[in-house]
């Protein structure tokens, strides 16, 4: 019998709010953070909308540290601080080597790349700024979290595009089960609202012009967002021994690859990941009350995901609540799964399923209960969160109510 892994703290920030509580309040109200992009630097893009963090919280992190951090690392540290504070865990010399962090990042420090390309190619500067390399590297978020919080256990970045956060939860869980750490801060961070990243997404021709409308027949595609989410994960024994407040259980994970196409998803890959997740978590289809869908708002994803859910859940698919919170926080790429973790944990704690916002027209090919526009009260015993990705790298995580 393997160790149970529990969640004892959550933190996050995104367009919906600067902490987990405000994010959850917005989700519950079905409020979308998608709006016009503020930055002048992005004004010549076709992409005009996104979910941005307009004002960062007063984080009080030393300038000496912030000059070494790209925006995505700063997000990770802010979310990690919040999560650790909620967990009540004191990290000191006695446990520092037993507390680690795994942070999912799908892209890299794109703002730093853009800034320095601009300086070198447009402004004639002779060299990029000195912290360019340590700011850009995708593993920086995990390193910065460890430095800021004094965590000396297993620390690394995890990357698999849009499923990075879920793979981070999976690998963090492994560290705990294998006894390599007692506590892991896991989640994801992304700051993709830079000219280069948005321009590249534009080239894929899958960006929505109006907003993100997952499962709605009139959807136009993906909307980009930024943010981070972190969960404090620990073994049940460790949490119990220190008298921690247990918010939920990370019951299991399921992973698979499509091994098919770099961008087009398959039905089989997501099905296999969901099945593996249920098996890993010891859940039957009828035990799950809520699915936080990958739900990007592209026709390909939404229809394929619907078919996959029906195949895996059979009869139970009809009584499940499904929603895509990307309709509110947009697609935060490597951070999406971490923000969706907040939705799952809070849905179980409050018995409220957050809705799919911006929904207008039923799509006969997406005929599950997608919780259109208004949250639904219902007991949520267990929730799964789907993460699929370019590259066909699927990861699904399951949470059980505490």
């Amino acid at each position: 019998m393997r160790q149970r892994i529990v969640v004892t703290g959550i933190g996050g920030l995104c367009g919906l709010g600067n902490d987990a509580a405000s994010i959850w309040n917005a989700m519950r109200e079905g409020r979308s953070a998608i709006g016009p992009l503020a930055s002048e630097l992005l004004s010549d893009l076709k992409v005009r909308i996104g979910s941005e963090i307009k004002t960062l919280p007063d984080h009080g992190i030393d300038r000496k540290r912030t000059v070494t951090m790209d925006r995505f690392s700063l997000f990770a540290v802010i979310a990690a601080r919040e999560a650790l504070a909620q967990s009540g865990l004191q990290v000191d010399e006695n446990n520092t080597y037993r507390v680690g962090t795994a942070v999912g990042v799908g892209v890299f420090g794109a703002e730093t790349t853009d800034d320095n390309y601009r300086k070198v190619f447009l402004e004639g500067k002779s060299r990029p700024e000195i912290f360019t390399v340590p700011k850009i590297m995708p593993g920086a978020a995990a390193g910065q979290v460890s430095m800021n919080l004094g965590l000396r256990g297993p620390t690394f970045g995890v990357t698999s595009a849009c499923s990075s956060s879920n793979h981070a939860f999976a690998t963090a869980m492994d560290q705990l089960i294998l006894g390599r750490a007692d506590v892991m801060l896991a989640g994801g961070a992304e700051a993709p609202m830079s000219w280069g990243v948005l321009k590249s997404w534009e080239a894929l021709r899958i960006m929505a012009a109006d907003t993100c409308r997952p499962f709605s027949a009139d959807r136009q595609g993906v909307v980009m967002g930024e943010g981070a989410g972190i969960a404090v994960l620990e073994t049940y024994e460790h949490a119990k021994a220190r008298g921690a407040n247990i918010l939920a259980e990370l019951a299991g994970v399921g992973m698979s690859a499509d091994a098919s196409d770099i961008v087009a998803p398959t039905v089989e890959g997501p099905m296999a990941a969901m099945r593996a997740c249920l098996a890993d978590a010891g859940l039957n289809p009828e035990d799950v009350d809520y699915i936080n869908a990958h739900g990007t708002g592209t026709k390909a994803n939404d229809q394929i995901e619907t078919v996959a859910i029906k195949q895996v859940f059979g009869e139970s698919a009809r009584r499940l609540s499904v929603s895509s919170t990307k309709s509110m926080h947009a697609h935060c790429l490597g951070a999406s799964g971490a923000l969706e973790m907040i939705a799952c944990v809070m849905a179980m704690r409050e018995g409220i399923v957050p809705p799919t916002a911006n929904y207008r027209e039923p799509d006969p090919d997406c005929d599950l209960d997608v919780t259109p526009n208004v949250a639904r009260e219902r007991k949520v015993r267990a929730a799964i969160s789907n993460g699929f990705a370019f590259g066909g790298t699927n990861a699904v995580v399951a949470f059980k109510a505490a």
């Binding site: 070494t68 002779s126 060299r127 000195i130 912290f131």
Partner: protein
Amino acid sequence: MADQLAEQIISKIEEHADPAVGAVGLDTELTSLGIHSLELTEIIFDLEEAYGIEIEMNTVEAWSNLKTVQDMVDAVRALIAKKA
């Protein structure tokens, strides 16, 4: 008394210093500037470009022992003199 060289160096330093530090003077200690050690290296690179001097890496290491802004000004002045 700050001469032109000192003023230029101070303004370079101020670009990188924590704004909370306030005015930078010749007697300001480099460690009080809230500047990361690598950033100090970046200031050195800026000075190299501005004054057409070259600072060898072992010199850079020596620079990490500089205490005040005055020490930095003196070091740059010495390199400029050497070049001339």
